[in-house]
Symmetry: C2
Subunit: 215 residues, 2 copies
Amino acid sequence: MEKGISGAVIRRLSRYYRYLGELTEKKVERISSGELSRIMHVTASQIRQDLNNFGGFGQQGYGYNVKYLYSEIGKILGLDFQHPMILLGAGNLGTALANSPDFEKGGFRLVGIFDINPELEGICIRGLPIRMISELKDFLSSQKVEIAILTLPKEQAAQTADLLIDNGIKAIWNFAHIDLDTPEDVIVENVHLSESLMTLSYNLTEYRKTHDKKS
Amino acid sequence: MEKGISGAVIRRLSRYYRYLGELTEKKVERISSGELSRIMHVTASQIRQDLNNFGGFGQQGYGYNVKYLYSEIGKILGLDFQHPMILLGAGNLGTALANSPDFEKGGFRLVGIFDINPELEGICIRGLPIRMISELKDFLSSQKVEIAILTLPKEQAAQTADLLIDNGIKAIWNFAHIDLDTPEDVIVENVHLSESLMTLSYNLTEYRKTHDKKS
DNA sequence: TAGATTGTTAATCGATTAACAATC
DNA sequence: TAGATTGTTAATCGATTAACAATC
């Protein structure tokens, strides 16, 4: 529909969404791009430009209705539909994600948990029993699943991704330290934590270099 | 030193670093920007441009020495120094990060773990006892700590961040769903998982809209 | 109506890609 | 030397910011 919206715009949309949610909780009814710009530390121009990629949600002389804009951005992000998810990898990270209640607000609902470690079989997380990956095929043929969360170590991640794709999964949230090799109709969103930590390290190192710590 | 290197460049640098590490393991000695471009799916031009922000690491007619480039990028990212870290929040996510052995390669060494839940006091993760946040001040005055990893729920994250800053912490790796309000000499790197998941949701929704699922 | 603020076009800025001379 | 490939400048492309007419 819309053409060529960049990833950066979508990231910002998620961020607007978070702030609008907080404003709703604070019973704020309307907000102008100018006010929001001050709160969020982005330019008002960018906010208006971002929103106008998807249509006009405001009103001249008034601004934006917080509740309405919140709900419209939610629709753009697809948060108005259920997204059944399965988790691959029931380690600490997987467990953390499974227990994250925030995701349910956006329609992200965990429906299955899988691991390769037989010792974990049957143990429940959030009421869901850990299953073996050997059951994955049957599970996927009997259940509608949209998103697979991949928190397995990289050795197993690549082949598990293949298995997921072979069985119809179209979206992977990848926490493994590899770049998955996937067909173009499969959406992959990577979370590479070590890249994030290295960015922090770079910024810190650089800051010190330029600010020459003495004392 | 270098002027205005964008975050995008640094992200890519981390990614080059990962691939170069893998190439080293595979005993590959040299690589050209052209070959690397094919493996990593970025343009050769971009690779050369990125690297030349920091100096010339290659040789005309030859390419780049894998080991040397790996080590040089490591230095740029600050991975040639130790980075003592403390963890704030010993939940599943915090535990997952504490147990992540990958980070130690980059000099990121966990030296302390803190939580607010008194029931966790003294329990060990990776040989480190969980301490109470009330001990934080003393701890920081007796130990050199560079980076604080913040995995507390957002209710406690903001005030804990203030406490960290008051006690001299200059870098925060923030996993809480808030934008920390910090002085400009404090480096913050945010990992907002819900923004990542929403991006995935958007891309999936959008793909479906444009590819009109029938059947 | 007058004031405010959007939607949108135009101007600027920065990042990516292309091209090629330098050089190993 | 001839071939390959870098380092680097120039051209293109895209994203951000500024400006302002439309309009509530």
